[in-house]
């Protein structure tokens, strides 16, 4: 109560309207035990009447009966559920405040080739979007640049921390490429005039050539740099930060999230990836059902979403995007779900649920916003499930977090309890009490 009043006062006094006054991390990583709750670890079977203990930021015990340390703060979980904090596999959280106001948007740098643009440096830890995202149980997100062809690298961030550095779990996470599209506009009814079609084809080829050139240069740069580290007598070359950013990519150490929507573009992207032996994660991909064998043979995981979006073509089945998750699951292809959003990344769980409404098993839907993204992005040692040794990113709910009517009651990131207040709840309180 006192905290709330204080925060309210702060809010009222706050001059800068775009900055959050919600406390990010109270700094207390005590020992906490939640018991008598239904615990859903995701990595293993649900524990109907279980206990979870975490201390100093890490999970120290999960199970039907776990030893509770003497100094633990005990939370009675009767009637409640404990889940891993949800993970958004692709968003712009922290990079965008008011979409129509360019000064507040940092998602897309100018130009086509920006591999050295790094999302984590531009994240605003005090964005109002961050507390709002937490409201439905999301504790970590991949936040990524967009724009151009090589957009830059993303970061996996916890939604808590006073500085971007405190928030960042892993960066650079992956290189994001928005593969050139053969057709930029919808499928026109009348054939495009010959001129426009030729123009579009020309531009497309130019863009792919540009991309290829920069990748070839990166390969050459990688070779030269490697040679120089072995042999200092090799002539020095000036550093090229753009190519440098691509070196881990062409060396296969950093994954590429390849954004492509339609079949032709997906195929072209895969062909390109083959040529440069890239470690690919396919993203967006409404046409994913048409390229299953190609994905399987290359072991390419997929990031789907937003699921609540329209199919690209008039003739596409109305449930195309909803059904893609089931298709991938049936084919044994790993996948995760993204919101591709900032302000409403909080609706991530309902995107996952939509897949379950169209054939995906519910537990796989839950997995697609917890363990699956952690595995795909190589942070499963830290987050994504309730397992001893992982970060205590935990949510306590009164039901299934993929259901809208569920409330998230308590939220922990790195073992710290984070308030579920947001600028929106504060405004609610303020105007609810208008006389």
């Amino acid at each position: 109560m006192k905290t709330k009043a204080f925060v309210l006062a702060m809010f009222v006094a706050s001059a800068a309207f775009a900055q959050s006054v919600i406390i990010n991390s109270p700094g207390k990583k005590g020992t906490v035990a939640i018991r008598n709750a239904t615990i859903v670890p995701v990595s293993s079977a649900t524990i109907p009447n279980g206990t979870i203990v975490f201390s100093n930021g890490l999970i120290t015990g999960v199970g039907a009966s776990v030893n509770i340390p003497l100094n633990a703060t005990i939370i009675d979980g009767t009637g409640l559920f404990v889940y891993p904090g949800l993970i958004d596999a692709g968003s712009h959280v922290g990079l965008e405040e008011i979409s129509a106001v360019p000064g507040t948007v940092d998602t897309a740098e100018l130009g086509d080739i920006n591999p050295n643009a790094r999302a984590e440096v531009a994240v605003n830890p005090h964005s109002n979007v961050i507390p709002v995202t937490r409201v439905n149980g999301i504790t970590s997100v991949v936040t990524e640049p967009e724009g151009g062809i090589i957009s830059g690298s993303s970061a996996m961030i916890n939604l808590a921390g006073w500085t971007p550095q405190e928030m960042t779990l892993k960066a650079p996470l992956a290189m994001h490429i928005h593969f050139p599209r053969l057709r930029t506009n919808a499928f026109d009814e009348q054939p495009q005039d010959e001129e426009a079609t030729k123009e579009a084809a020309k531009n497309y080829t130019k863009q792919i050539d540009k991309l290829r050139d920069v990748f070839r240069d990166a390969q050459a740069y990688s070779k030269a740099s490697a040679a120089r580290t072995q042999n200092a007598s090799i002539k020095r070359i000036d550093r090229d930060l753009i190519l440098e950013a691509l070196v881990p990519v062409v060396e296969g150490r950093e994954a590429v999230v390849m954004h492509a929507n339609l079949e032709r573009d997906i195929r072209a992207a895969l062909k390109f990836a083959d040529e440069f032996k890239l470690k690919v994660i396919l993203a967006d991909a409404e046409d994913v059902a048409r390229v299953i064998p190609e994905l399987k043979s290359r072991n390419i995981p997929v990031i789907l979403g937003p699921i609540l979006s329209l199919p690209p073509r008039e003739d596409d089945p109305y449930d195309l995007v909803f059904s893609n998750a089931k298709t991938l699951n049936d084919a044994g292809i790993p996948f995760a779900i993204q919101s591709q959003d900032a302000h409403n990344a909080r609706n991530l769980p309902y995107n996952a649920a939509a897949c379950a409404a169209f054939g995906l098993p519910k537990d796989v839907a839950l997995r697609s916003v917890t363990l699956a993204p952690a595995q795909i992005f190589g942070v499963a040692d830290k987050i994504g499930s309730l397992e001893t040794g992982k970060l205590a990113n935990i949510i306590v709910t009164d039901g299934d977090p993929l259901e809208i009517v569920t409330h998230v009651k308590r939220l922990f990131i790195g073992g710290e309890e984070i308030t579920l207040d947001t600028n929106q709840t504060l405004l609610y309180e303020k105007f609810k009490s208008r006389p």
């Binding site: 057709r183 506009n185 919808a186 499928f187 026109d188 009814e189 009348q190 054939p191 495009q192 005039d193 079609t197 032709r264 073509r313 008039e314 003739d315």
Partner: protein, 535 residues
Amino acid sequence: MSRRFLCFSVVSLLFLAASAFADAPGVYAITGGTVHPVSGPEIANGVVIIRDGLIESVGVNVAIPLDATVIDVKGSHVYPGLIDAQTSLGFPSATATRRRGGGAGARTAAPEALPETGPSFLAFREAKLSDDDLDAKRGTGVTTIVTAPAFGIFNGQSVALNLSSGTMESRVIRNPVSQQISFNPRPAWTYPDSLMGVISYIRQTFMDAQQYSAARAIYDKNPAGYKRPDESPSLEALGGVLHRDVPVVFVADSELMIRRAEAIAKEFNVRMIIGGARQGYKMGDELKSLGAPVLVSTKWATAPTAKEDREEQPLRVIRDRQLQPTTPAVLAKSGVLFALVSGAGKTADYFAGIRKAIENGLSADDALKATTINPAKIIGIDRQLGSLDRGKIANIVITDKPIFDKESKVKRIFVDGREAKVPTEDEKKKSASTSTGTGVDGTWSFVVKATSGDVNISATLHVENGQISGTYSGDHGSGDVGNGTFDGTTVQFSIAGGGKEEAGDWVFHGTLHGANMDGTVATTLGTFPFTGSKK
């Protein structure tokens, strides 16, 4: 005045001499061919007598007048010259602006270098028909056209013209034929820039015309005591439409658009003709009960060239383009009065489109009716044209095979009873190939054949993005070339009028043939031919 007229007529005669028309006394007997009068069954080994531009008789055992030149067309087919009842020959093409629905976002404005149209715009006055236009169109067997611009909303008053040489005045069969209305939104930020805006704009204009008519009636009866109404040639021009003297051609292709046009026509009780109607196949019986004549454009929707692009198209679109060419057959079956027209298509597309309609169920007979007597009826010129009957104008086309056969060739053409030259295959090919020749860029010497004598002008022209700029000098002073456009074949530009007698610019309108150009120059003192060659 009279001296100028004399000079002009001399020039005209010289012009005529240089044209495609053969000199003739004007009495012909066309014999030996299969005659298709349209108004009756075909006549094997039939005879058509032409005298003084009109048909004197048609039949099988017709006495050949002693003063007639006999033209034996054994093995050939004799038809009335075809009537293309909706074209935009003589007008520049509209710049296509792509419209997509939704959103309050900004859209780019298309450059508007086209003349303003409106209800008082007269196609008769503004059409610029070059010789090449005429030759090409006539060479396909079409001897009468109706033309109006396709751009704008109220496209103006269309005119029916015989494709004869000579002055525009001498070509007119009927003027005006109709008011034409197209549902073309204006560029963004100019009212009306949406389809719904266009519809409201049309309705409001009709309402204004009604009010204008009422206001004028009251005022003209006795002006005393009244604020005088503003003069409005546009609203005046719509009076004929409101009184149902002049029909309105609504350019509408889709079923939805046809219904919208219908609603407007009903609201203002105007005589409607539908122009386009390529989705007419969806509503044959309805069109019949609607009672409006239909001008079916034969420019059927085409498929994208790339196979992958076709697969991306909606089935709805694929179905529609495959069913469009069945429209004429459907309309024929439903008993709708319809004509086959170019509409949005080019001259080259017309016959291909007609043949496609025949492949899709239209009988060759109905196709012939739809290009002769039907359009004549719809235009209101069926007492003069549309069939081979005594007293009608002698517009005749003779082909070596039935006219809509794929291999059919036009052998001879008569317009107003005078034979017109049929471009040979070589000439056609030459014209086709050279028109994509060396371009307009460069220095030209032009010769304008004015009344008073040749006017030599030298000009340096440059084309960029379809716009011509440059300078000129010579007999007519010097300065900058203005308002220049080039679309690949047609050249247009203007230079200052100059001289105390002239107010407006000299507007050059010509066709590029490789390193040569020819056409006409329009001035306030008359229109004169010109030729040009690159230096």
